[in-house]
């Protein structure tokens, strides 16, 4: 199971929940599992072209260090403490 933390994204879909535990080795699988728990997340994250919408950042925490993941849906996430989905919030 992978812990996924929602950082100011999809409050309408998650009912304000800040985290969830889901199955999945890749981002695509994680998003599919999230979509089962919170229907609509997949459509918000993956565009018609089958790639991640650029409005979100996916980050992974390993050994206390959080770094952005490459936006590739089929890349294995590996052994992580948690995955974080956050908006690309940059100022304002």
């Amino acid at each position: 199971m992978t812990k996924v933390r929602f950082l100011s994204v999809f409050p309408d879909l998650t009912g304000g929940r800040r985290e969830s535990e889901v199955e999945g080795r890749t981002l695509r699988e994680i998003i599919a599992s999230l979509d089962e728990a919170f229907p609509g997340i997949k459509a918000r994250m993956i565009g018609p072209g089958g790639t991640l919408y650029p409005g979100f950042m996916v980050l992974a925490t390993r050994g206390g260090k959080t770094e952005p993941c490459r936006p590739e849906l089929d890349m294995e996430i590996g052994d992580v403490d948690e995955v974080i989905i956050a908006p690309v919030a940059a100022g304002g």
């Binding site: 994204v9 650029p54 952005p68 956050a86 690309v88 919030a89």
Partner: protein, 634 residues
């Protein structure tokens, strides 16, 4: 000229004289509108070295070509004048419905000079203008003043920008409130209005603006609105407003905490976007034609009342009255925001000034007696008391009303060390140790530390962020590498040009869909200029350089400086940022003076400035500013 009224309104408050002038179309083509027009007019008309509070200072309230047609985010007013905080050229902008109404009332800019012998407000309606008595409004809050003016004029479609008691009392960071929901917070220009006895400007307009290619523009606007609604890039902004920045700022270790001593706040989950939605959120508002509606409405009752009739706090205010002061109660943030709105205080400078005072109290530099009571970190009573004392200049509030640069000089005892400002303007809520582009931008901005000059580093951590402007390769937010070029380009493209068009900057941050090509296309559809992106950025560069020459010219009045003196010492950051961060998402990050120096060398070179940070004659010639070369020649 398409996209413009072609008319300026001039007011000499000393003489109570009002007249109209044609807009110099050559000037508009060269500087566009908004900030560009303001800088160009003030460069020509302000004498070197004048006191910002003297009648000689002028305020330019300017819109640009984007007001009129239904362009999302295309309703912004930029106010330019000499700032009482920095003593240099300052500007500040606000959104909402006033800018559009002003353009429809017939003017591209309203230029105010002199000083009235009594409080007045300016009433502008469809090409007619008059000064009206504001004696009964003086001393009233922004909200009371606005409502009284609308009542007196008998038309609830009237839009008002006004100052509160802070502006009247010359608090150096007094803001200008638009509809008491949209604020031109920075640079202290509300105090300049106060110094002129100008309480407010009210506008009402029904005019129409001709544009060059209405069909092309409406096609572009349809496409843009569709993208805003469907491509996901504005989703979080629409759901949370700028509160969507709070949790990521904490995660990344850039949220200023305890007066910039830390950059993570252990109680962020009590004030982040989700917490705000749960506690004080009461709805949202928008600006004309914008489908995002990011402006928050809040409501709080009981001990900390906040009304939904006023503008709710944005991210900057959440951090300034939250983590910065170690307060984790959203209702306290809402109340502090409301007091700032009513008194007419910039929330960023007010929060930083109170954080400075709290650190003074903690270190024993300011006593309980001087502060009129305790001022402990996170204490709501202390925060509210200080806001009042600053507004009415009581006790230590009188010195804090001068801004932290002057306050620390007056207080002494080493307090300069924790006075967080650049060029006299208090720092916004993004610790630059975790985003080095902002470090360069804060240091070099002509108006002091401002977070809306260069797009933030986070947006450029992914591939193809803005390939049209040469930013396709990801850059780490923590590195200086590539940042001088990023900052230079963004100050020209975003800082200067968005403020001159004038348009909302939030919609232009990648991956949001108001892309460089769409912005340039929109300008061409409105004006018929037919320019390309390169020329567009070049106009921004011209505006930026003119602002810089203004700064160089001002410096000449300082003892020992002459033409050609260096500006480098002004492009500095508070010493606190040379300390490495002990924890959080930016752990270990610091900005040493050597790092900043190296970045400035590269930045100056890219800008075509000399090692002292002054534009060279050849750069000015290249930007068609040859007529001002004499201002910088040795």
């Amino acid at each position: 000229m398409k996209g413009y009224n072609g008319r300026l309104l001039r007011i000499d408050l000393s003489q109570h004289k009002i007249w109209e002038e044609d807009l110099d179309l050559g000037l508009a083509r060269k500087f566009v509108g908004g900030r560009g027009l303001g800088v160009a007019i003030l460069f020509r008309e302000l004498d070197n070295g004048i006191d910002p509070f003297s009648p000689q200072n002028k305020l330019v309230f300017a819109v640009g070509p984007f007001e009129g047609p239904p362009i999302p985010g295309g309703s912004r007013l930029v106010i330019t004048g000499k700032s009482p905080l920095t003593g240099l050229l300052g500007d500040s902008d606000l959104g909402g419905y006033f800018p559009l109404e002003m353009k429809r009332a017939g003017y591209d800019a309203i230029i105010v000079e002199g000083k009235s012998d009594r409080p007045v407000y300016l009433w502008v309606k469809d090409g007619c203008a008059e000064l009206r008595d504001a004696g009964v409004l003086w001393g009233r809050t922004t909200f009371e003043a606005q409502n009284a003016i609308i009542g007196e004029l008998g038309d609830d479609k009237v839009k008002v920008v006004t100052i509160g008691p802070a502006g009247e009392n010359l608090v150096r960071y007094a803001c200008i409130a638009g509809e008491v929901r949209y604020f031109a917070g920075r640079s202290g220009l509300g105090a300049v209005m106060g110094s002129k006895n100008l309480k407010a400007i009210a506008v009402r307009g029904t005019g129409k603006i001709d544009i060059a290619d209405p069909e092309g523009l409406s096609r572009l606007v349809r496409e843009l609105n569709h993208a805003i609604r469907t491509d996901g890039s504005c989703d979080s902004l629409a759901k949370y407003g700028t509160w969507n920045s709070t949790a990521p700022a904490n995660l990344n270790g850039i949220i200023p905490t305890k007066n910039f001593r830390f950059t993570t706040f252990d109680k962020t989950s009590e004030i982040d976007g989700d917490a705000m939605l749960r506690t004080i959120y009461a709805g949202h508002r928008t600006c004309p034609w914008c489908p995002v509606a990011c402006r928050r409405v809040v409501k709080s009752d009981g001990q900390y009342p906040a009304s939904p009739d006023l503008g709710g706090p944005q991210y900057e205010t959440v951090a300034a009255f939250g983590s910065l002061l170690l307060n984790s109660d959203p209702r306290v943030i809402a109340r502090a925001n409301e007091l700032c709105n009513l008194y007419g205080l910039d929330t960023i400078s007010a929060g930083v000034s109170i954080a400075f005072a709290m650190e003074c109290y903690e270190r024993g530099t300011l006593s309980r007696q001087e502060l009129g009571g305790d001022l402990k970190w996170g204490d709501p009573g202390g925060i509210f008391r200080m806001l009042e004392d600053i507004t009415y200049r009581r006790g230590a509030g009188d010195v804090l009303a001068e801004g932290v640069m002057r306050a620390s000089k007056a207080i002494g005892k080493g307090s300069e060390e924790w006075a967080m400002h650049v060029k006299g303007m208090e720092l916004p809520m993004h610790d630059p140790r975790g985003k080095k582009g902002q470090a360069i931008s804060y240091a070099t901005s002509m108006k002091g530390a401002d977070h809306m000059e260069s797009m933030h580093d986070e947006a450029f951590q992914r591939e193809s962020a803005l390939p049209q402007l040469g930013f396709a390769v990801p850059m780490s937010r923590k590195d200086f590498q590539g940042k001088p070029r990023l900052v230079k380009t963004m100050q020209d493209y975003w800082g200067a040009m968005a403020d001159s068009l004038t348009v909302c900057k939030l919609l232009m941050i990648p991956p949001r869909p108001f892309s460089p090509q769409r912005v340039v296309d929109a300008l061409n559809y409105v004006t018929g200029w037919g320019i390309d992106l390169e020329e567009f950025v070049r106009i921004g560069e011209r505006i930026y350089n003119l602002g810089r020459v203004f700064l160089a010219r001002e410096l000449r009045r300082e003892p020992g400086s002459g033409k050609g003196a260096s500006l480098r010492h002004l492009d500095a950051l508070p010493a606190r940022f040379s300390e490495p961060l002990a924890s959080g998402g930016s752990q270990g990050e610091r900005i040493s003076p050597e790092d900043l120096d190296r970045a400035l060398n590269e930045y100056y070179e890219l800008r075509g400035w000399n090692p002292g940070g002054i534009p060279t004659a050849s750069k000015l010639q290249e930007l068609e500013l040859q007529d001002i070369v004499g201002e910088i020649a040795p």
